[in-house]
């Protein structure tokens, strides 16, 4: 566990990487370099981000250039090279949610968590992100917290939802 008073930058020192698990993930894809993105996504599912210490290992085992790993990691939105919170709150900003007031929900959550979208709370509990459509358009506005979807929200119920994870 991460002590609450530790800031974002010191986080890296606290992530203990389970190297065997990383190896297993790479093995699952037979060390195929075409699976680079999926390997990073699997690692991200465990740590909520891709710890930069993993990059040299990917370079080695997949036989790719370091620059490619960084290009892929920065091109795709599902990958972050910086630590993210235990709960990743995605506010859907797809068109259907937009016309039903997604920006108001984003405002309310920014206020409540005291961060801007794209940022993580100091206690590393929440990361707030805007996401372009989670495909639950009929239930908009929608937010997802990790893999759970919450629909039909307004300002008040969105706040309640996020508070329930506190």
């Amino acid at each position: 566990m991460v002590p609450k008073d530790k800031g974002l930058m010191s986080m890296e020192h606290f992530v203990e990487i389970d190297w065997q698990q990383v190896d297993e993930i790479i093995e699952k894809y037979n060390g195929n370099r075409e699976a680079l993105l999926m390997i990073m996504q699997d690692i991200s599912d465990i740590y909520n981000y891709v710890p930069p210490d993993v990059v040299p290992v990917l370079v080695n085992k997949l036989g790719v250039k370091e620059s490619l790993v960084y290009r892929v990691a920065t091109f795709y939105k599902t990958i972050s090279l910086e630590p993210r919170g235990k709960y990743i709150v995605n506010v859907c900003t797809g068109t259907a949610c937009h016309v039903r007031g997604a920006d108001k929900i984003m405002d309310a959550l920014e206020d409540h968590l005291n961060i801007k979208q794209g940022q993580t709370t100091d206690d590393l509990l929440f990361t707030l992100q805007g996401v372009r459509c989670v495909g639950c358009c009929a239930s908009g506005p929608v937010i997802t917290v990790n893999q759970k979807t919450h629909g039909g929200l307004d300002r008040a119920s969105a706040l309640e939802t996020v508070k329930s994870y506190d």
């Binding site: 892929v72 939105k77 259907a96 108001k104 372009r132 358009c137 239930s139 979807t149």
Partner: protein, 617 residues
């Protein structure tokens, strides 16, 4: 289950499952477990239902199926009780004891749960009579509500893999391609290119051919592919196996968004069970045909829906599109001939093979055949997925199936085609929609998103919204798209902030024309569509923003303010109670006042007032 070695084995299994399915006297409760209903709490309802059935000793008499998306997502979680087809919308945990006691045990209706049509206020008991479903033609989407997507037997019991059997044993690859060509099927992913011609040209090229399913559904507001992947994965799979056989391919890929975890899960299960039955893998049904499919998860980049970008991504690279001097059917994935079709296109293939090209071509319009699934969302009463024949009018979809606009507001426009599409105004409501008609009015089919907008939607804000989206998603390789979008956003930003200048509209048009001509890929060439179509049909709103510094819809905060009309306000105090800034004051039963200095224009008072006393100025 044991591997099926030949045609007879498949036929026998399917026949016995079909007979069992048709003769079943068991009560069947189908509970929607699609993502939309899931967001409203299907999991809890299911748990309670199983608990209640067990408590009543009914668990062996009643079958409960967690089905895929039924389409009427607005009213989720949806429950349908067969064989009667009793339709209960918005079912919650607390309703379960009543449902089990009355409907399941005694065959009586729970009156309080019966669906009430919002348009006519009439109560409707059966699923088939609900207007939302009644006017649809669900040849692709229909089985979603009756099968459990995680069970291959369920798919077989509704006649699944009959088309594959026919294709493998009764048709030559050439005949299959001709059939698809003659059906008139056009790609459902956006471009609308003839599927049959694409297949034929891929087969012509030598090399290790690949079959790819584009499930990178990136259009915000469209989710029919997600619902098919989650709710009926085998229909897509069957289409892909037929396609692979037709063009001579041994390896296929499904490129699906990482943001769709349930789709990934259900499709993976479908692959596994198909392998177990020998419908995928080596020597399929004893024909000597080898074919397998692998899943690749995309990383949330809109541009990866473009074919060349998708293939770059499949190869483990950033998803950068390339110029298409050489088509992907010749040199695509791994520099080999690649056949890429969208999810819905693949799901159409078994239907065509089963029923024949003539039957399929009898549905739809001259140039667009078959049905299309639209995701009807936004400010419309019944939101959800709607499958209608090509050529159905916008009015039928929005007002008859969709039940009209929410809160009796006025229809303003419908946006089709996602960020590459356009906004269609009221005067075209009677347009029969197909690929060609939508293009004529400056929009496009896209993947079938249909976002309804009312009087409270600002068209300048919407075009700003799309440009911002596309600016974030532009891959940055070519100047027209990268810089064009940035400049467009700057201009739209200043218009929405009240700093618009004379000549801005013309400048946007000029920029748009340049991008359409010179961008590298489809994302760039279609990127100006939302701007150009809103200028074409709603120029007066742009003028109001620029010249009068007003936002008539009350969206762009610097350009409007709220005011309480003392004539209409009866002093119910609701707005004052809900105002987060305490900006509204007044005595009970007397007109209230709004303090402009305190108001943050959050719009709560406007939303809650039942007497239309809060006005946008």
């Amino acid at each position: 289950m044991a591997k099926l070695e030949n045609r007879e084995a498949l036929k026998n299994l399917r026949n016995s499952l079909q007979a069992k399915f048709q003769d079943s006297k068991k009560k069947l409760i189908s509970l929607c477990a699609g993502s939309g209903c899931g967001a409203y709490g299907t999991a809890k309802v299911y748990e309670k239902l199983m608990e209640e059935l067990a408590e009543q000793g009914l668990e062996n008499e009643v079958e409960v199926k967690l089905s895929g998306c039924h389409g009427f997502c607005e009213k989720g979680p949806i429950m349908v009780i067969h064989p009667e087809g009793i339709f209960y919308p918005q079912v919650q945990e607390e309703h379960i004891p009543e449902i089990v006691e009355h409907t399941v045990k005694n065959g009586e209706l729970v009156k309080s749960l019966i669906f009430k049509d919002p348009a006519t206020k009439k109560k409707i008991t059966h699923e088939k009579d609900v207007p939302f479903y009644k006017l649809q033609k669900r040849i692709i989407f229909g089985n979603n509500g009756v099968i459990d997507p995680t069970e291959i037997q369920d798919y077989l019991s509704v006649g699944g893999y009959a088309a594959l059997e026919k294709a493998l044993f009764d048709m030559s690859p050439e005949k299959i391609i001709d059939e698809v060509k003659e059906s008139g099927l056009r790609g459902r992913g956006g471009g609308g290119f003839s599927t049959g011609i694409k297949w034929a040209s891929c087969r012509k090229h030598e090399g290790e051919r690949y079959v790819i399913c584009n499930a990178d559904e990136g259009d915000p507001g469209a989710y029919m592919d997600r619902s098919l992947l989650e709710g009926n994965p085998h229909s897509i799979l069957e289409g892909m196996i037929i396609g692979a056989w037709a063009i001579g391919s041994n390896e296929g890929y499904v490129y699906v968004r990482h943001e769709y975890p349930l789709a990934v899960k259900n499709f993976s299960m479908a692959l596994e069970s198909a392998r177990e039955l020998g419908l995928l893998g080596k020597n399929i049904l004893g024909t000597g045909f080898d074919f397998d499919i692998f899943i690749s998860r995309g990383g949330g980049a809109f541009v990866c829906g473009e074919s060349t970008a998708l293939m770059a991504s499949l190869e483990g690279n950033p998803g950068l599109p390339r110029a298409k001097y050489i088509h992907t059917v010749e040199k695509g994935f791994r520099q080999n001939p690649s056949l890429l079709n969208n999810v819905e296109t693949w799901a159409n293939v078994p239907v065509i093979i089963n029923n024949g090209a003539d039957w399929y071509a009898s549905i739809g319009t001259q140039g667009s055949k078959g049905t299309k699934i639209f995701s009807l969302v936004g400010k419309v009463m019944n939101t959800g997925l709607v499958e209608v024949p090509m050529g159905t009018s916008l009015r039928t979809i929005i007002f008859d199936i969709g039940g009209g606009i929410l809160k009796k507001k006025k229809f303003k426009a419908v946006q089709t085609g996602g960020p590459s599409g356009g906004c269609i105004p009221e005067k075209y409501l009677d347009l029969g929609i197909d690929f060609d008609e939508l293009t004529k009015v400056g929009s496009m089919m896209g993947s079938g998103g249909m976002i309804v907008m009312d009087q409270d939607t600002c068209m300048v804000d919407i075009s700003r919204y799309f440009v911002e989206f596309l600016k974030d998603e532009s891959c940055g390789q070519c100047n027209p798209c990268r810089e064009g979008l940035k400049q467009m956003l700057d201009i739209l930003d200043r218009i929405c902030e009240g700093n618009g200048r004379e000549g801005d509209i013309e400048l946007l048009e000029e920029l748009g024309g340049m991008m359409q001509k010179f961008s590298l890929c489809g994302l760039g060439t279609s990127a100006p569509n939302p701007v150009l179509s809103t200028i074409r049909y709603f120029r007066d709103e742009y003028v109001a923003h620029i010249r009068d510094k007003k936002c008539p819809a009350g969206v762009c905060k610097p350009l409007f303010y709220y005011e309480i009309d003392p004539e209409l306000c009866n002093g119910c105090t609701l707005c004052a109670k809900r105002c987060p800034e305490e900006a509204i004051t007044g005595k009970k039963k007397e007109p209230h006042e709004l303090n402009q200095d305190k108001c943050i224009k959050c719009g709560i008072c406007y939303d809650v007032c039942k007497f239309n006393a809060v006005a946008i100025k």
